[in-house]
């Protein structure tokens, strides 16, 4: 199975790396998504015995989208499109309906499935991690470090969370695990200063990728959003193009609020990428569909566990497949 049991510990991380690189990542993701009560994971044909499509079938589909956290607006749009296809009698059977649903979802997600490309002419390529409390920022930094190292980049981390207890040490542990340097200051220090220092250090040492952690913050906290603006400003003072990537981390377990998070963070600091974590649970992260529909921010990675290797590149096709395919495969 993918994303191992955490009880087996980190010594298995190396093995997990190999596992991630094997083909069939999607299959394992699918297996994980299928562990729970499935919503869209079962065959559409199972929805209504008798096999005829009618309004009830659509209502059932609507229900499934809603329980997957897709949200009302996105769901209504998708179902509306299916309805009009149905009216034009383009959908003759349940299989056609399944295909149509698949392509509806794909149409929304395809334009935003754009993998992160580290521009190697940039030294360093700067990534700023932001998100609400506990979403998985620090852990994702640990995973990304591993990924970039594997790709042959040198990596440095900036401990921009100077607020939460032991946040610095948490990042430092990830630094040790991956053997990458971590630039940190004392607790309570100005995050902008930490990040500025780190960028200077990365430049001096010719580092390829600098990833800056920040404290979790709710998008409703204006002063903390201002703090992020300042971090960005300070970075760009040293390097006009920095940060190259401002990545919002979203917890797949979140419901409709994740859309508000994306909107508000985007409005405040301008996001260039999204990563969704904790997809190894039974939460489906359906809010991604709504976010993609409304904001068109590229979705970069998916988090599927707590170990360094538990990271995958987001792909619309795979994601939709994983959501829609049947259990028996």
């Amino acid at each position: 199975m993918f994303g191992k049991n955490k009880a087996s510990g980190d010594e298995n991380a190396a093995e997990a790396v190999k596992e991630t690189k094997k083909p069939g990542f999607v299959k394992r993701l699918r297996a994980r998504l299928n562990q729970g009560d499935s919503w869209l994971t079962m065959d559409v044909a199972d929805l209504i015995p008798g096999g005829k499509i009618d309004e009830l079938t659509l209502e059932e589909l609507e229900t499934r989208l809603l329980t997957g956290d897709v949200g009302i607006d996105a769901t209504e749009k998708i179902i509306g499109n299916l309805e009009s296809k149905l009216r034009r009698t383009e959908l003759k059977d349940l299989q056609a309906l399944g295909q149509a649903l698949r392509s509806e979802l794909r149409e929304i997600l395809e334009p935003v499935s754009k993998p992160l490309q580290v521009d190697s002419s940039r030294k360093p390529y700067v990534i700023l991690m932001v998100g609400v409390n506990g979403a998985g920022k620090t852990t994702t930094i640990g995973k990304l470090s591993r990924r970039f190292l594997d790709q042959g980049h040198s990596v440095m981390l900036a401990a921009g969370d100077t607020f939460r207890a032991a946040a610095v040490e948490q990042l430092q542990t990830w630094g040790q695990r991956n053997d990458v340097p971590v630039i940190a200051q004392q607790p309570g220090a100005d995050p902008a200063a930490v990040v500025y220092d780190a960028l200077e250090a990365a430049k001096a040492r010719g580092i390829d990728v600098l990833i800056a952690d920040t404290a979790g913050r709710l998008h409703t906290q204006d002063n903390l959003m201002d703090e992020l603006r300042k971090v960005k400003r300070v970075l760009s003072r040293l390097d006009e193009q920095a940060p190259d990537e401002t990545m919002l981390i979203i917890d797949a377990g979140n419901g409709q609020n994740a859309l508000v998070q994306a909107q508000q963070f985007h409005e405040a600091i301008g996001l260039t990428g999204l990563t969704i974590t904790k997809l190894d649970g039974t939460a489906k992260g359906g809010i991604l569909v709504a976010i993609a529909q409304q904001l068109q921010i590229p979705i970069r990675f998916i988090g599927v566990g707590e170990q360094a290797a538990d990271l995958g590149v987001f792909s619309a096709d795979d994601y939709v497949d994983a959501l829609l395919s049947s259990n028996t495969e």
């Binding site: 049991n5 956290d69 409390n133 409703t220 917890d251 377990g253 979140n254 419901g255 409709q256 994740a258």
Partner: protein, 452 residues
């Protein structure tokens, strides 16, 4: 989201005007809107279904009181049922046991367990004069034990060290023994975050539970959680069983419908809510507040008034008349003005039109963003009609309720009330009505007024 919810209900209530008795037929639309509102608030679909069925059953045949509209009658029923579902007022932890009373905390990753432990330790020490020891059985997350150690020092609780090389169960056995020796009143046990489908990890926490024999086993639930929260809550309850819940991160603007679902499927009370990252950001749970927050109850209570005061012109004329008569400019009037501003293209559009505004520094202009107007409207929305008419009655507990309802901090409510008081003074001097006049009157004080 706020707009969505109140729009939904406003529309539904409007369509219900002027009928004498609630029937299956005339409540169908409203109930569909209620269903949508609950889903938007992240209440799990099966819970929504059974809830709406209950409401329908209670509502049909209900006489509409003279003082209320049919819509209002129905929404009242919805609110009452929601409060009932959310359960009794919380009385904190039940620690009646041979000391040390053990409290075990569990939940999904990142939900706020460790922070909540520190908050509860502080609460018990300060408010209940208990001696408290804390231990971490999180041997997985990097620096988890250190995080708890630092927090323990911050709140002055006894920290029982543990190490990543120990087994969780061993840590807990050792800690309970130690706590007994040290004669502390309460032992709080932190555990690693885990997914409810991770069998190995669920077995671990069950073993920890068996070893610890806690009097309280609390599920920590993120108020931003979505539809899946119901599955997690159920699985944790089955594995442990739970005695209660802590709802965290309620200082954001999530509606917190997951709390309804979790409460519905486990039947376990919510004991505390987390209202911030700081140690003192912990409050007892009030079902009334969460119900209001989910429904946007401030709105609901004034829906009918809103319906009647529909058009901008009517509003402006009314305000002008009111002011001419020497009546005060109340919070309802402020809300109308704010709403009008939004409908006139938002703050920036307005500022461009107003003389002098363009000379404001960029930073000040940015502060006066539409998000803030929306938030201020949300705050007024969660006030009752009486509070809007007489802001003087808004005391501390009302402020807390209003803040919770709007998903804002109490300081934001303070700021709005203060700002309104200042405006009232200005308005006294100003006799011509309408939004333009108001804007002119407010000119110059906008940045401090609308900035935070």
């Amino acid at each position: 989201m706020f707009e969505n919810l109140s729009e939904r209900l406003t529309g539904a209530v409007e369509s219900l005007r002027g009928r004498g008795r609630l029937t299956e037929d005339n409540i169908r639309d409203t109930l569909r809107q209620v269903r949508m509102a609950l889903l938007e608030a992240d209440v799990a679909l099966p819970v929504v279904r059974s809830f709406v069925a209950d409401v329908r059953e209670r509502a049909v045949g209900e006489e509409v009181l003279k003082s209320l509209s049919p819509g209002q009658t129905l929404i009242r029923i919805v609110h009452e049922e929601l409060v009932r579902l959310m359960g009794e007022e919380a009385s904190g932890l039940d620690l009646r046991a041979q000391p040390p009373a053990v409290v075990l905390v569990a939940g999904l990753q990142g939900s706020g367990k460790t922070t909540s432990i520190a908050k509860m330790a502080d609460w018990l020490r300060r408010r209940e004069n208990k001696s408290v020891a804390i231990v971490s059985a999180d041997i997985y997350r990097p620096a988890a034990i250190l995080q708890l150690e630092k927090l323990a020092a911050q709140v002055g609780a006894e920290f029982i060290p543990s190490s990543e090389t120990e087994k969780a169960v061993d840590i807990v056995e050792r800690a309970t023994k130690l706590a007994r020796q040290k004669v502390v009143d309460v032992l709080l046990i932190d555990t690693a975050g885990r997914l409810h489908i991770d069998d190995e990890m669920m077995a671990e926490v069950a073993a920890v539970h068996a070893a610890a024999q806690p009097v309280e086993t609390l599920f920590v639930l993120d108020s931003m959680a979505g539809q899946d929260a119901v599955n997690a809550a159920m699985a944790f309850d089955k594995a442990l069983p739970l005695t209660g819940m802590v709802l965290t991160k309620t200082d954001g603007d999530a509606r917190g419908g997951a709390a309804v679902s979790a409460r519905h499927v486990t039947g376990k009370p919510i004991k505390f809510i987390g209202t911030g990252e700081k140690i003192d950001a912990l409050e007892l749970f009030h079902p009334e507040r969460i119900a209001s927050r989910i429904l946007g109850m401030g709105d609901v209570l004034t829906l009918v008034e809103q319906v009647q005061e529909k058009t901008d012109r009517e509003q402006s004329q009314k305000l002008a008349k009111k002011l001419k008569k020497g009546k005060g400019f109340d919070l309802e009037d402020l809300k109308d003005q704010l709403t009008q501003m939004m409908s006139m293209g938002g703050m920036n559009a307005l500022m461009d039109k107003l003389p002098g505004m363009s000379r404001l520094p960029e930073a000040a202009r940015q502060q006066a963003d539409d998000g803030q107007i929306r938030r201020q409207i949300a705050i007024i929305n969660s006030m009752t009609p009486a509070e809007r008419r007489r802001p003087r009655i808004i005391n501390g507990s009302r402020k807390r309720r209003i803040a919770a309802g709007a998903g804002q901090a109490v300081q934001d409510v303070n700021r709005l009330v203060k700002q309104h008081a200042q405006m009232q003074k200005v308005m006294k001097k100003f006799s011509k009505g309408g939004a333009k006049g108001l804007m002119r009157a407010m000119q110059g004080r906008l940045p401090p007024g609308f900035g935070r």
